[in-house]
Symmetry: C2
Subunit: 440 residues, 2 copies
């Protein structure tokens, strides 16, 4: 089968949908020249009509409010799902696949939740289900894991995959402002949603990590199976102390293969060395570090969101699907989502991880306090690599910061339970994990 | 056609060949699990036998000294050329293609010189000719340009693509040592060849740029068609002055699309802002920045050479070719190398570029010198953005450093001709171009 023109239908004409329609129409000859496939945007579905977008004019009869004109339309070869959310997107993608259509989606929430069913359905109907834009926007990290690093055991993976959090932390770091002030500003600028929960609580990053882990380790891990911690508790004071110690605080999505063949998966604020490339990924940008057994350390950097960067990834996926249509083949789908392929790795609970820690206590300013805390840490084999005590300010308490050497999380927690019972320790403790392996 | 096991033959068992054989044998089940293709290493050609390599044992009868056992062997599906050099590699690849074999090569010199003929031949015989490992080692920049950024007009591209030069410049910058001393050390450590000309004169970087330009702009540009300048003239003094001005000197391979649709192509030492990601790519690492019309600024970082990183890229190419064999299709080849597709862009000569410049003069330490130089620059519309004059040391001359705003290279050259005729200017001038667009 050689089909000369491949017909595209888009579900959803929001920011990304608009970008995709712009590229498909305005860059049509560039795409054809670069890839050898001829694409035609046939239908765009928007629930409420009429609608128009600056910078793009759709062909006559292209715009419709009825998704059936895409998913049930025999002329459409590739369905691009950009409506977001889970329930309706799932229904429409399912129908499109059953109708034999290749599907492209940017919907990480849907895939993190229902990836298994959808990929199995796609395999059954011999269509592709591409999702490059779901993670890290314009950065081709999905293709890299699926095609370029296939000869590697992925040793570890570190991602700044939420632009909102990175923007907030960068602003807090560079301008010494508070979380709430930056969040308000980010909302004004459109970098953060009116309800920022999914972003600032780390849930969006966790959904992306779930997809990356499926590709890297072949395990389908829902986000309630691993430790997810957002940035709402990070104060400008913590950021300043971290900097004094030579670190920058970033929200990092981490996956590692442990020596005993378990997968560590976690999303949390993390201290990274200030001279590392990852520490210097600023603003709303994304970056993913992958350390492979053969390739060694790598880093991929770019815009993780926004109209055109995300559209760039969506259209790359469309082109891949179009090649499949043209050649009458369909690409193989990662085994992660197939229950008949047993996972070869299990999940390492957060209590079992070994890492370094930044700890900040507020203590009474009197002799012997450091020794008391140090003794308890010592009892649990937790060794301190550096300590800073700040001058007391307006009260009789001081902040005591410690960096530990690598320790077992379970030991840290037990030790902290005991330390917090000390009379000299006031209030809680700030715990932030440190990542040294990204020091490049 | 569905072939269950794809047979591989490797030409050349040097560093990279050894790495590829290790992966194909030791990671065989990982590859099969990740990609769905079953690979079998059938033949490895090494000119002088017997031979052995640490960490790998080849199957019986695998090793041979006769390349015909690979390129003329009807059982071999994919030929991996890793002998390097131009003439013999060309002969063997040509024979393999004519025998209907898919080819994977890491040979940038061969492709930069004879890419046109070889890709046309591959197209004629419906086989793929993959070359991911030819540029930036383990970094999947070829696939990214060919598949992920297809919807983008590539606005510009900046690569640190020669690990030897980057190692030398990093050492000079961090440890204040001279070029010749670092070169000797790099040769000892195996980071530089006994004859380092191809590396330190920028030729290796230029060959890689030629391949990147073919993919980005569809023009087949041999390296004698653009400006290539190495790092042999960079002294530790220049590096130190650059740093005082907030810059780091890197050897950068640059390609840009100009407003009048011409391609700027050049390789030369370049001042990049010290806080940029590119400036912080240290040691023997590579990085490529691509700025695309949709995706915006991106950066790809990793090891550009060495046994396993390069082998990682070669094996990814083998897997892609194996999928083609398995599915009975062959991927399309960039139009850059086909004479029937006219290039849509012409080359912008170096005299026509607009960029910023670092200039260092050695001048007699007396009043009015700065004015004289400034007047001549002004006559040619060259505006100065900053000046540093160093205290005189042991002579009566001083170093005068200037950074210019953007200016036309032709104007700079004419102005410098006149400035160098001034009696107050002693010796030549150091000119290093500045790149601001990589400031991310």
């Amino acid at each position: 089968m050689d089909k000369s023109c491949i017909n595209i239908g888009i579900l959803g004409w929001g920011t990304v949908g608009t970008g995709v329609s712009k590229i498909l129409i305005n860059q049509n000859s560039l795409i054809s020249k670069n890839s050898g496939v001829q694409l035609s945007l046939e239908k765009v579905v928007k629930r409420t009509l009429p609608a128009s977008r600056e910078g793009i004019e759709l062909p006559p009869n292209c715009l419709t409010s009825d998704p059936a004109e895409v998913v049930d339309n025999p002329d459409i070869d590739i369905v691009v799902e950009l409506i977001g959310g889970v329930s309706e997107a799932q229904t429409l993608i399912t129908r499109a696949i059953k109708n034999g259509k290749h599907v492209v989606t940017a919907n990480k929430a849907l895939l993190a939740e229902h990836g298994g069913e959808l990929f199995q359905l796609a395999q059954k109907h011999k269509v592709s289900l591409n999702f490059e834009a779901s993670t890290a926007g314009g950065i081709p990290i999905i293709k890299t894991l699926q095609e370029s690093f296939t000869a590697n055991q992925i040793e570890s993976l570190y991602g700044i995959v939420n632009g909102t959090c990175n923007y907030i932390l960068t602003e807090m770091n560079e301008n010494g402002v508070d979380f709430s002030d930056v969040l308000a500003e980010a909302q004004e600028k459109g970098y953060a949603e009116a309800d920022p929960t999914l972003d600032v609580e780390g849930i969006d990053a966790a959904q992306k990590l779930s997809l990356l882990i499926a590709l890297a380790y072949g395990v389908n891990l829902s986000i309630d199976k691993f430790h997810v911690e957002g940035i709402t508790d990070i104060s400008k004071k913590e950021i300043q102390y971290a900097r004094e110690l030579g670190y920058v605080i970033k929200l990092i999505a981490i996956a590692k293969l442990t020596d005993d063949n378990r997968v560590e998966a976690r999303v949390h604020p993390t201290l990274v060395p200030e001279r590392s490339l990852l520490a210097n990924v600023g603003g709303a940008y994304n970056a993913v570090c992958v350390i492979g057994s053969a390739v060694g350390p790598t880093l991929f950097y770019g815009q993780g969101a926004g109209e055109m960067p995300t559209a760039s990834a969506v259209v790359a996926d469309i082109i891949d699907a179009a090649k499949s249509v043209k050649n009458g083949i369909y690409p193989s789908i990662s085994h992660a989502w197939f229950p008949d392929v047993p996972a070869e790795v299990s999940v390492c609970p957060i209590d079992d991880i070994h890492t370094r820690y930044y700890l900040r206590f507020v203590v009474i300013d009197k002799p012997g306090v450091l020794a008391k805390i140090g003794n308890i840490l010592g009892d649990y084999n937790i060794s301190i690599s550096s300590v800073i005590q700040k001058e007391p300010h307006d009260t009789d308490t001081v902040s005591l910061m410690m960096l530990t050497h690598k320790a077992l999380e379970k030991d840290i927690k037990t030790a902290l339970d005991q330390i917090l019972k000390l009379e000299v320790v006031k209030g809680g403790v700030k715990l932030i994990r440190i990542e040294e392996e990204v020091d490049f």
